[in-house]
Amino acid sequence: MSEKKTDEVTGVDTTGHEWDGIRELDNPLPRWWLWTFLACIVWAFGYMIFYPAVPMVSEATPGVLGYSSRAAVHQDIQDARAAQSEMISKVDSLPLAEIRQDADMLQFAINGGRAAFAVNCSQCHGSGAAGSPGYPNLNDDEWIWGGDLENIATTLRHGIRHPGDDETRFSEMPAFGRDGILDREQVKAVANRVLAFAGQPHDAELAAEGAELYADNCAACHGDAGKGDREQGAPNLADAIWLYGSTEADIARQIHAPRHGVMPAWGDKLDPVTIKQLTIYVHSLGGGE
């Protein structure tokens, strides 16, 4: 197979390689090709000197330019921050309502808020802010403490039932069943009264029984029609949204021994601009007032 011959047509030797009768001529390489090859080798050595290249025990040789991809990313982040500085200072100085008026500012705030939400809030409220039992859905139009810009901002800054913040949102519903204020049957009756407010299937007889109990024990906070009171953080009982479930058993459990969720006060953890961006983002999720 490896038999060197001289090609008849060109008079050039073959390399001796043959594929199905096709033989390869052993023509000399153009010299510039060789120079290009050598130039590439020189380039490679230059690269090794100037850039990180040779792997050592813990890290690679640094190269005389001191380049590192991590530093480059850091620089990119710095540049991005610098490019945003004008928008950030505008968000800082303008009131929330005015930020919402300007389309560019609104988009900037929503994007920033979305990023901050993913890092700080999504652990409880979910990445789509849809919440879960005990953690409110921020997309809907039900707000325990108010859904306008100022109220959302206050909730964000001071949290809910956050120990150590004097201005935190605070409400505490008595444990009617556990503390013996209402007995088991009475709790059930009140639960049916609440179901009636929400227009859900209920036992009408029990609901009627529960009406007086509701008026005596619950109406002070939740209102005569069960519409709730945001000043006191008393949820609306007459709508389709339930933080701890909507069945009779869920409601009875909450009357017996209520659970009280806690939201951290973010005012001392996040800077004011981020709080503002988060406010506008949450407000833009569809339920903002």
Binding site: P28, R31, L34, A103, L106, I241, G286
Partner: protein, 497 residues
């Protein structure tokens, strides 16, 4: 008979101790490029090459400077690849990124056009239109103007470095460099406003990428046009191989009519002149060849079919009274027919044959289809992306809400008032983030010229008005200042129960 003395070959003949420098064993593995100095030639094809070169260079250098008024806020450059805003402008045509299929269509047309040209004219691209050919021609012309014709250039190559040689070489390299800079410089004008960039390039305000591009193209033009020349075609370019595969026996190619020319010989007055063919072996065809080949060796990969040897041979034939076209554009079929003494096919028949007609038809059909699409394409479009997290939201009154990211594309170069509406979804109402208007089924917007408007839209429907699961409906956008309308079929998702 063995000789007694090592220095005697046979009796009376001395043996010299010498070894061939270029013996097979000593032949270098690497071959240095040998200079080719094509001789000046005049004739039909040389004139044609001047014209084509002039037109092509003019197109290349002038195009970015042509202006085209598109109104306020729009670039007024006739041909502009606007990478920053992702637009391509070509006179009255504006192409958005999603319309990139036009470019794909253009490439398909270029491909089929190349098949067509190659099957008729052979390697016409290589010989006349390829930038490498055009710029090498320009560089050789500069060289000839400064250093003289072929023989003078060979002499200058060999001469020692004296003041005259240094002066000539320096001037040549300087002019080459200026051409190279102008070539690289013209390229970047296609990607930005040419007059503004021109000033910026000189005041050092242009972007680094502009200078790098100019630098790289200057270097490649200078090296490829001045030094690499035919090496680019022979060793670096895949085109000679591809084009050779696309030719057939009816494609025109520069051919030496050896049946007429051979046996070649120069002594026309000698006794056996009648035995000789038409070739007088003057080697003019070799001297003018920019690729450094001898066309009389037959068809070769290196031959770019520039036909300068045709001009050279014909000018000699005219001078000596010989029959012209000993070297000429001929098809392989005609060549064989002539060699066998049969009549050759008329040119018309070799050009209009099934293959070329098929290519021409295909090419025209694609061209017409693209023209049709171009003049009927949408200039108003809507894209809708449904929020998937959460899939839906239950509101306090029990109704269901879905969120959508709506993008409305105004691809016209004027501001437009449009109406966004939802249909096929009973009792649905939409709100738009940021505008604080009451929920409604329609919304009016003013779209900026040549921009995409992105909206966050919420659509709410009473629970009893939708089916559980997916409900199909439509977003429509209507131009209130014109007639255009666009639709998008979207999904409204309700709880599954």
């Amino acid at each position: 008979m063995a000789s007694k003395d090592a220095n005697v070959a046979v009796d009376g003949v001395a043996r010299i101790e010498v070894e061939a420098v270029n013996s097979r064993q000593h032949r270098s593995l690497y071959k240095a490029r040998e200079s080719i100095h094509p001789m000046r030639v005049a004739g039909t094809f040389r004139r044609l090459k001047w014209w084509i070169m002039g037109v092509l260079l003019a197109i290349y250098y002038v195009t970015p400077w042509l202006r085209w008024d598109r109104g306020v806020g729009m670039p007024d450059q006739a041909v502009l690849v606007d990478l920053e805003h992702r637009r391509f402008f070509f006179f009255f045509i504006e192409i958005w990124p999603q319309e990139f299929y036009y470019v794909a269509g253009m490439l398909i047309m270029a491909g089929i056009g190349l098949f067509l040209v190659t099957s008729v004219l052979g390697r016409a691209w290589c010989g006349y239109a390829c930038p490498q050919t055009v710029w090498v021609d320009l560089y050789v012309h500069v060289e000839r103007w400064l250093e003289g014709d072929r023989n003078a250039r060979f002499r200058l190559d060999k001469s020692p470095w004296n003041a005259a040689k240094i002066r000539k070489r320096f001037t040549k390299y300087l002019i080459w460099l200026l051409i190279a800079v102008a070539t690289g410089g013209a390229w970047v004008f296609y990607f930005a406003d040419a007059p503004a960039l021109f000033v910026k390039l000189f005041t050092l305000e242009a972007s680094a990428i502009a200078y790098v591009t100019v630098g790289v193209l200057t270097a490649t033009t200078f090296v490829f046009g001045g030094f690499m020349r035919e090496q680019v075609c022979t060793y670096m370019c895949p085109w000679p191989r591809i084009q050779a595969a696309m030719m057939d026996e009816n494609s025109l190619t520069v051919t030496y009519q050896d049946w007429r020319g051979e046996p070649r010989g120069r002594h026309r007055k000698s006794a056996d002149a009648s035995q000789l063919g038409d070739c007088i072996d003057c080697n003019q065809c070799v001297a003018v060849c920019p690729m450094g080949i001898d066309i009389r060796d037959g068809q070769q990969l290196e031959c770019i079919n520039c036909a300068l040897c045709v001009d050279a041979c014909n000018s000699i034939m005219a001078r000596t009274g010989g029959t012209p076209d000993l070297i000429s554009y001929t098809t392989l079929k005609s060549y064989e027919a002539n060699a066998d003494g049969r009549p050759a096919l008329p040119l018309k028949k070799t050009i209009f044959r099934a293959r070329t007609l098929l290519y021409a038809t295909l090419w025209s059909c694609i061209g017409l289809a693209m023209l049709f699409v171009l003049f009927t394409r949408d200039r108003l479009d809507i894209n809708v992306l449904r929020d998937r997290n959460p899939q839906y939201v239950v509101l306090s009154d029990g109704s269901i809400r879905n969120g959508y990211t709506v993008k409305i594309l105004n691809m016209e170069q004027r501001e437009r008032r449009v109406l966004l509406q939802i249909s096929d979804l009973p009792d649905a109402l939409m709100t738009v983030v940021g505008d604080d208007l009451w929920p409604s089924r329609t919304r009016e917007f003013v779209l900026d010229a040549d921009q995409v408007q992105q909206l966050q839209v919420y659509v709410a429907v009473p629970r009893e008005s939708v089916e559980p699961g997916a409900n199909s409906f439509r977003f429509s956008v209507t131009d209130l200042t014109g007639i255009e309308q666009a639709h998008y079929g979207a999904i409204f998702r309700a709880p599954e129960e």
